[in-house]
């Protein structure tokens, strides 16, 4: 009589760590009815993956479930099952899709073998029948040449293809429940759309229920009918997808950002660009043969031309792997440049001698994507921020250092008390501010921002963007803003350049590009994002 396919009651998962017991999931209750898609959204560390893994009981060995927890699937409590009985449910009635398609498949077994295995386990099929069924499954998940793919190894397939194989394994036995743990977050934007569509189609076709885990509300809204929001192991909000979306709490609304007022000195702007990139190419050689001859190049950045005027922002938009980060590093001359010029004011960076380059480093700075790897974990905040001051000989005494670091911390909105602490004590947003302070220390004119918000949580994203805008106005900074997020680019950039496979396929004023994209790739990106 129970209408629910799955009922999770009082789910509590703890870990024993050296700091004592830590709760990853704290008393979560939810249920899924047949044919329903429920999304669990939350940031990393919110306990969503643990919740998903608890259902088929695939938790890491150190995790402990509370005695009161119940996971009722089709009327029986899974936690009371013996391991052998549980094995009959996994794969057969509950299918799983994982986040990282690169590692989710066994590297030394063929695709066919890995899909066939689940069929052999749950059905008594002849070898021939298994083979036929595997081909059918590969076809169902949209793989073009199933017989060829059957004998291939995982490393021979692209990320999207591998994720299709993982899905094929999950749906092989037509399970009643499919659990998808961030199935698209390791993929690029266009593959993400395809995989989402595939999951959606399969869900309808087989009438499965689905538990969909993601950190991205935009993904969740495309597939789910109901959403649970998790934070620090607790459900903080739940409702139908429409209800959650109306609250506008869980996405960054970049349109709320005030566009910076135009900077006065228009004459100067017209006069000369601050940064002028001409025919920039960054190639990495491919070496082969007996004597490692260079037989070709990986063209990470290919014939790129960009102009940026003082006080302006240009956004470089593209998917992962399009060469945007390489471009960012090339502008700072952190990479060898194969061909082309980068003029900063009048100086050509690739050709400038070491001493001149050293001085120029004052004017061009960078902010990185990952606030965790961008700060040396072994250095105090004060030393991190003061690094550039010493290197550029802008200060001479410790007293000056203290004074300047205090000033910088204040400018980025941090307390002076943070000076003598280590980076690990701070949140992602705070770390990003430290990174900004480090860049600001040498009083640059141009800052390259390499996806500065994409590793941050929703609240910090807005804060950091607002901070960057404030600093731009105050110090007349110019930004090269690298992002994959079109709404963000739309909100802050004066110009947009769209990058694909190392080339800039379209560039122009922001409103023009967004209203009237010309290049097919730009059209696709704009369509997905807006």
């Amino acid at each position: 009589m129970t209408a629910n396919l799955l009922e999770v009651k009082q789910l509590t998962i703890g870990f024993n760590t050296s700091q004592g017991k830590m709760l990853a999931v704290n008393n979560i209750n939810f249920n899924i009815t047949p044919n329903e898609v429920v999304a669990l959204i939350g940031e990393s560390g919110s306990g969503k993956t643990m919740t998903a893994l608890a259902v088929p009981y695939l938790l890491p060995p150190a995790a402990q479930l509370a005695n009161t927890s119940q996971i009722i699937f089709k009327g029986q409590d899974l936690l009371n099952l013996s391991e052998v009985d549980f094995q009959k449910i996994r794969g057969r009635q509950i299918g799983l899709v994982f986040q990282e398609p690169m590692t989710a498949l066994n590297p030394v077994l063929t695709i066919g073998n890995q899909i066939g295995e689940v069929l052999k386990k749950h059905f008594k099929l002849s070898k021939k029948a298994v083979y036929a069924r595997v081909l059918e499954l590969l076809h169902e998940v949209g793989i073009k040449d199933p017989p060829y793919c059957y004998g291939q190894y995982p490393h021979q397939l692209s990320g999207g293809m591998r994720q299709r194989v993982v899905i094929a394994i999950a749906i092989a036995c037509h399970p009643d429940l499919l659990i998808a743990d961030e199935p698209t977050s390791a993929l690029d934007v266009s593959t993400e759309a395809q995989i989402l569509k595939l999951l959606h189609d399969l869900q309808i076709k087989f009438g499965m229920s689905m538990l969909f885990i993601t950190h991205d509300l935009n993904v969740a809204k495309k597939i789910s009918s109901r959403i649970l929001v998790l934070k620090d192991g607790n459900v903080i909000d739940q409702g139908t997808t429409e209800q959650i979306l109306q609250q506008k709490k869980y996405t960054v609304d970049f349109s709320a950002i005030d566009k910076a007022p135009p900077i006065a000195a228009d004459k100067k702007i017209l006069a000369k660009p601050l940064l002028d990139i001409k025919e920039l190419c960054v190639y990495f050689p491919i070496q082969k043969g007996l004597f490692k001859r260079t037989v070709g190049f990986v063209k990470a950045v290919d014939d790129v031309n960009l102009r940026l005027y003082q006080g302006k922002t240009i956004a470089v938009v593209g998917e992962s792997g399009s060469g945007k980060t390489t471009l960012a590093k090339a502008i700072l001359k952190l990479l060898p440049i194969y061909h082309g010029q980068i003029f900063f004011e009048d100086v050509n960076l690739p050709k400038s001698p070491p001493l001149q380059l050293h001085k120029l480093r004052r004017d061009i700075q960078i902010i990185f994507q990952d606030p965790f790897s961008s700060l040396n974990p072994r250095m105090l905040v004060v030393d991190i921020i003061a690094e550039g001051l010493w290197a550029q000989e802008l200060i001479k005494t410790d007293q000056e250092k203290e004074q300047r670091v205090d000033e910088l911390l204040e400018q980025v909105g941090l307390s002076k008390d943070f000076k003598y602490r280590y980076p690990h004590e701070f949140s992602g947003g705070q770390r990003q501010r430290i990174g900004i302070a480090r860049a600001l220390a040498v009083k640059p004119q141009l800052i390259v921002c390499d996806e500065p918000t994409s590793a941050l949580d929703v609240e910090s994203q807005l804060e950091i963007i607002t901070l960057l805008q404030k600093l731009q106005n105050k110090f007349k900074l110019s930004y090269v803003f690298i992002t994959h997020n079109i709404p963000l680019a739309a909100a802050i950039a004066d110009d947009i350049a769209v990058m694909q496979q190392g080339k800039i396929v379209e560039q122009g004023a922001t409103h023009a590009i967004l209203k009237n994209p010309k290049h097919p790739y730009t059209k696709k990106l704009v369509a997905i994002e807006l």
């Binding site: 870990f15 760590t17 050296s18 890491p60 150190a62 995790a63 590093k329 700072l332 952190l334 050293h358 001085k359 480093r361 004052r362 061009i364 700075q365 960078i366 990185f368 994507q369 990952d370 790897s373 961008s374 700060l375 040396n376 974990p377 072994r378 250095m379 030393d383 991190i384 690094e387 550039g388 010493w390 290197a391 550029q392 280590y422 690990h424 990174g435 480090r438 860049a439 040498v442």
Partner: protein, 462 residues
């Protein structure tokens, strides 16, 4: 009687090592990652026990590394260490030849000249163990039991005093009452460290008292072929083992860090050259390379006796040479590890940021790369130690180890091979070597495991 300090080469290096490790500990104390690793190590009872035992070994080794020469009324005696002085007359109580543990007579029959001038072939009395002084009603077992009871009681009393003093100090520092602190420690309310340390120390003290007392009445582990006390020998071997285990790494580490960092950071031809050097060194089988090098140096030492004023210095030079050779042949693995890590680190955003700020290469290597390699160095140090102690025995057996006059477990095991083949069997030197070598190696292994678990980021604890 006057004392003149004598500093052997290995002594000097040991002092250097101690000073260096004090600086390292002070540096590490400021590193949060290392501090949390240390806290994790202190979660493991086995690791704490191992550490206390290792410290005890180290203390003996250190006392044995402070050498002096005592001059008594213009009569110059040989070089001794503080340790020798503390345990004397142990080590000076030589018999004629083999005698079993706790024996009163020699192990071999010999010709005894009786007071009346007659010659008799029998087991002679030991010089050191004086049966006449024993209580006439006592037999040997009773005497041993009496010694043990007294020293155990003494040990316990001393242990109580130490416990009381240390708890009092701790209570005072944390401004708690003595009894509250005591209660907390006994019930392990503030972690397992205190109680475990105190109990281990207690066991060591009681054991030490027993051994010390008994060794002054008997040869508790017998005597060897030339009549030297085996217990003394095995205690002296501790220093040799520790020196090989620590000095070798002292020589390895600077090489490995410098070359590993340079080749990983600069790549290009620097990398090619360094890789070539370590591939070459690495491709010679270990023992053969060590043997080849030791042989060459051995001949050098024996052909240039003028460099060494006495036998002690010569043996010391050979020990040092062995450490250097072991160090020069074993830096390659750590170097390769550090090179790989440096390659990864130089692509880290914070290093890229430093380059973008114009920080000099030297500063980047010292501030950004080196501190982030230290955990690998620490792991390598503790992991290698036990292997090196074991290697000493094997190399000595092969004939390329320490000098035959140096007291070491290798030399003891080497001799044991023939002692086991003779009739009746002489088994105690082998047992003695085992009894003292095994705890050192196993504690080093257990402690190394704990250190690696705490420091190695690859071992995830979830």
């Amino acid at each position: 009687m006057t004392f003149h300090p004598v500093i052997l080469w290995t002594d000097a290096l040991i002092y250097l090592l101690i000073i260096a490790s004090i600086f390292c500990v002070r540096w590490a104390k400021r590193q949060e990652q290392l501090r949390s690793a240390w806290r994790q190590i202190l979660q493991s009872r086995l690791a704490i026990i191992s550490l206390v035992i290792l410290v005890t070994y180290a203390a003996i080794g250190f006392l044995d590394s402070i050498h002096f020469r005592a001059t008594d009324q213009n009569q110059i005696t040989s070089v001794e260490s503080v340790f020798d002085y503390l345990v004397s007359p142990l080590g000076k109580n030589d018999e004629k030849t083999y005698s079993a543990p706790f024996a009163t007579h020699l192990y071999n029959k010999d010709i005894i000249i009786l007071p009346n001038g007659l010659h008799l072939r029998d087991f002679p009395h030991l010089k050191f163990v004086d049966e006449e002084q024993m209580n006439p009603v006592d037999n040997r077992t009773l005497d041993i039991i009496r010694h043990c009871t007294l020293s155990t009681l003494g040990g316990i009393v001393i242990w109580f005093i130490i416990c009381a003093l240390s708890i009092m100090l701790a209570a005072q520092r944390q401004q708690q009452k003595f009894l509250t602190k005591l209660n907390k420690i006994v019930k392990e309310k503030e972690g397992i460290v205190w109680r475990t340390v105190l109990i281990t120390v207690g066991v060591i003290i009681v054991l030490g008292f027993n051994l010390f007392d008994l060794s002054h009445a008997y040869h508790i582990l017998g005597t060897d072929k030339v009549g030297q006390d085996v217990f003394y020998e095995t205690l002296k071997s501790i220093r040799t083992g520790l020196i090989i285990g620590t000095l070798t790494t002292l020589i390895t580490v600077p090489f490995a860090i410098t070359f590993g960092m340079l080749s990983g950071y600069f790549r290009g031809w620097v990398d090619d050259v360094i890789q070539y050097v370590y591939t070459t060194v690495n491709s010679i089988p270990d023992v053969l390379l060590i043997a080849a090098a030791v042989l060459a140096l051995q001949i050098f030492i024996s052909n240039h006796p003028e460099f060494f004023s006495n036998l002690v210095q010569r043996a010391d030079a050979r020990l040092l040479a062995l450490c250097i050779i072991l160090g020069l042949t074993s830096w390659t693995n750590l170097c390769r590890l550090l090179r790989g890590e440096t390659l990864k680190l130089r692509e880290q955003d914070y290093v890229q940021a430093a380059i973008a700020l114009g920080t000099s290469r030297k500063q980047i290597l010292i501030k950004h790369i080196m501190p982030n390699l230290m955990h690998l160095v620490v792991i390598a140090l503790v992991m290698d130690f036990s292997g090196l102690v074991l290697a000493e025995a094997v190399l000595t057996y092969v004939g390329v180890g320490v000098d035959p006059t140096t007291l070491s477990w290798g030399n003891m095991i080497n001799a044991a091979r023939f002692e086991l083949a003779r009739e009746p069997v002489v088994w105690w030197p082998l047992l003695a070597a085992f009894l003292f070598m095994f705890p050192l190696v196993i504690c080093a292994n257990l402690f190394a495991d704990a250190v690696r678990d705490a420091l190695d980021p690859r071992i995830r604890k979830l």
